[in-house]
């Protein structure tokens, strides 16, 4: 069990490309930290630097109280689960699991005991004498998980471990991993986790905290709820949440927000919270927090997606594409031939961003 700290971590490749721009992050003991971001945001590179598979150009990685920059991966007390499992194809599951222990010189009897224990936890006992090619995707992933678990590492590293599985299996593995983490934590065993994914559902459901990254920078580190309720900037606002947050460009004049052709009065508590009054502002509101209302902003209806229990209404609001999520009942009550809708944002859920810097100027704690 150990705390993991990244201090001014930098990565520059031989061709001069700067992948990671000096990031700082403090991951607590036993914490489940998720790195999330679009592809190419350097989340995997960061993970590989922690693992020791990628050279560190600058800054330091600290596991517990050791600086591990120059340590070989095998000496860092970490274990890693790879995207495509990376099981050793010529070894049976049993040997795959115990390979690390064998290298560490653990006696055979002890190794076998450890294998049995891990196999029991992950329910892979019947698979122990199979080769990796005889396993299904889900089974292979559990073996890969077992190979990490058996080492009792200080930090677990996961590199998009579920992205090769089908949707159903992914959901069940997600639960299994979080469950396992909780159980290990309860037993006081090593359970600091860094989990890389591009899937925000995984990030939101699994992480104690989420680190949102973009182009080698950390955009925000917060709990899932904080990320959703109080995104620090436009990138996080647009990245987290399904469908994406509606972002409408405009200006603040007096107490109201003006789009190209319409205006909406901002509630006092939002105005009071504003840390700055940006020249070019962006109003952010989640699709779930837009209500159909006769007094709201008018938008031209473009498309309707029926999702079962709710309906996504896509509309054009003075040039900005917005989405409004309504219940099926609300949709049924609408005029079937209407080509415009009027939407009113939930005043308590409005965010105001500075269009130029991208920062959220309406965060509660900044008031």
């Amino acid at each position: 069990m150990a705390r993991l700290q990244l201090h001014n971590l930098e990565k520059t490749y031989g061709n001069g490309f700067r992948a990671v721009h000096g990031i700082n992050l403090d991951i607590q003991e036993g914490e489940f930290m998720v790195f999330v971001g679009p592809s190419g945001c350097a989340k995997s590179t960061t993970l590989r630097m922690i693992a020791g598979l990628e050279d560190i150009t600058g800054g330091e990685v600290r596991i517990g109280d050791r600086i591990v920059n120059d340590l070989q991966p095998g000496k860092r007390h970490i274990a890693m689960v790879f995207q495509n499992y990376a099981l050793y194809p010529h070894m049976k599951v049993r040997s795959n699991l115990s390979f690390g222990l064998r290298l560490a010189g653990v006696p055979k009897a002890e190794r076998e005991k450890a294998v049995e224990e891990v196999a029991r936890i992950l329910e892979i006992e019947p698979l122990l004498d199979r080769l990796p090619k005889q396993l299904s995707g889900g089974q292979a992933q559990r073996v890969a998980l077992g190979r990490a678990l058996i080492k009792k590492p200080e930090v677990f590293l996961f590199d998009e471990p579920l992205s090769n599985l089908d949707a159903k299996l992914r959901a069940s593995m997600r639960v299994r991993i979080t469950d396992l983490h909780r159980r290990l934590k309860a037993e006081g065993k090593s359970s600091t986790v860094v989990y890389v994914t591009h899937d925000q559902t995984e990030a939101m459901t699994m992480g104690d905290r989420i680190c949102v990254m973009q182009s080698g920078n950390i955009m925000q580190v917060a709990t899932p709820k904080e990320l959703y309720d109080a995104p620090a900037n436009l990138f996080v606002a647009g990245f987290i949440g399904m469908p994406e947050m509606n972002l409408v460009n405009g200006r603040i004049e007096g107490t109201s927000f003006h789009t190209a052709g319409q205006a909406i009065t901002l509630p006092d508590h939002v105005l009071a919270r504003l840390s700055a009054k940006p020249e070019n502002a962006v109003l952010g509101i989640r699709p779930q927090h837009l209500k159909l209302s006769q007094t709201g902003l008018s938008a031209r209806l473009k498309n309707v997606e029926f999702m079962g229990h709710e309906v996504y209404l896509y509309a054009d609001l003075d040039g900005a594409e917005i989405v409004c999520v309504v219940t099926t009942a609300e949709y049924d009550a609408m005029d079937a031939n209407a080509d415009t809708i009027r939407v009113l944002p939930d005043p308590t859920r409005i965010h105001i961003f500075d269009q130029d810097s991208g920062t959220n100027v309406s965060l509660p704690d900044q008031s």
């Binding site: 095998g74 790879f82 995207q83 990376a86 050793y88």
Partner: protein, 295 residues
């Protein structure tokens, strides 16, 4: 109406099956014929090795009229004080260290090129490819002078030492290509598991490389077995002759060529290579069709 449609459909289906059968038949006949043409010299060689010396030229067919082992018995004795067994032994004294050395050294070099970054890597790999393109003959004379100065003439050393030090660029290139097709994840997993570069090579890379290594061993075995020029240049004492030279010997020293002996010994000479090839055929094909590793 419906019946007619069904009948037409049936008729068409039957026609399709018949056409498919005819096409398959034609294909196999052509394949068999071409295969026979290609194999005929080998079949004739085996048949002729059991003929008497006179019959070889009298009877163009491959079936001997009065099969005799005379060719084998006389051929084995040779016209030298040594039996053919000595020459076989000599061949294996070259082949064995050469094959083992090639497999080990080429694995090291290929692993280095495929998985590590080091200064001048591009230039070095470029020179490997350049060597691959260089005609062998070009280096014969400098090599001869070098080995003469080392005092290695009339020994097996010049025949296997260069190869055992990864001197065969072709094999290095082949293994590098094979390694490049294997994803590096397994090796990274091994490193995380605590393996150093040597352990990764031994426990992870070599087992995955096995099909390619078997191909390398097979190629080297067959090429060395068939190598005539190398031994001709470096070996001068008859007691050190490998089989390829010994075969020629029987042509040189007899006034009237005993073709049946030569053919009999030729059959024996190709037997080990054929046996090894068929035994390892499965891996061989897997090895040269690189990239057949499932992730």
């Amino acid at each position: 109406m419906t019946d007619t449609t069904i009948d037409t459909a049936r008729l068409q289906a039957r026609k399709r099956i018949r056409n498919a059968r005819i096409s398959a038949f034609v294909r196999y006949v052509v394949l068999l014929a071409v295969g026979l043409v290609m194999l005929y010299p080998l079949i004739w060689l085996v048949g002729a090795s059991f003929k008497t010396n006179n019959e070889i030229f009298a009877n163009p067919g491959f079936m001997p009229q009065n099969p005799t082992l005379d060719g084998y018995i006389e051929g084995w004795k040779t016209s030298t004080p040594y039996t053919f067994g000595t020459f076989f032994l000599n061949s294996f004294k070259i082949i064995l260290p050469k094959v083992i050395g090639t497999v080990i050294s080429c694995t090291f070099v290929a692993y280095g090129f495929a998985r590590f970054d080091f200064p001048f890597k591009k230039i070095l790999f470029g020179s490997v490819i350049a060597i691959l393109l260089l005609p062998n003959v070009v280096t014969r004379i400098p090599q001869y002078i070098l080995f003469r100065d080392l005092g290695w003439l009339d020994s097996f050393l010049p025949l296997w030492v260069p190869s055992a030090l990864a001197g065969d660029a072709f094999f290095v290139f082949m293994l590098v290509q094979f390694l490049r097709a294997i994803p590096g994840d397994m090796e990274e997993a091994a490193r995380v598991d605590g393996a150093n570069s040597w352990q990764t090579l031994l426990f992870i890379v070599v087992p995955m490389l096995a099909p390619a290594l078997i191909s390398v061993a097979l190629f080297q075995f067959m090429w060395t077995m068939n190598d005539f020029l190398g031994p001709l240049i470096y070996i001068s004492s008859v007691d050190k002759y490998p089989v390829s030279l010994a075969l020629k010997l029987s042509i040189d020293t007899t006034e009237a060529f005993a073709w049946n002996r030569i053919l009999a010994m030729s059959v024996l000479t190709i037997t080990p290579a054929l046996a090894v090839f068929f035994a390892a055929q499965k891996y061989f094909i897997e090895g040269i069709s690189a990239g057949g590793i499932k992730g």
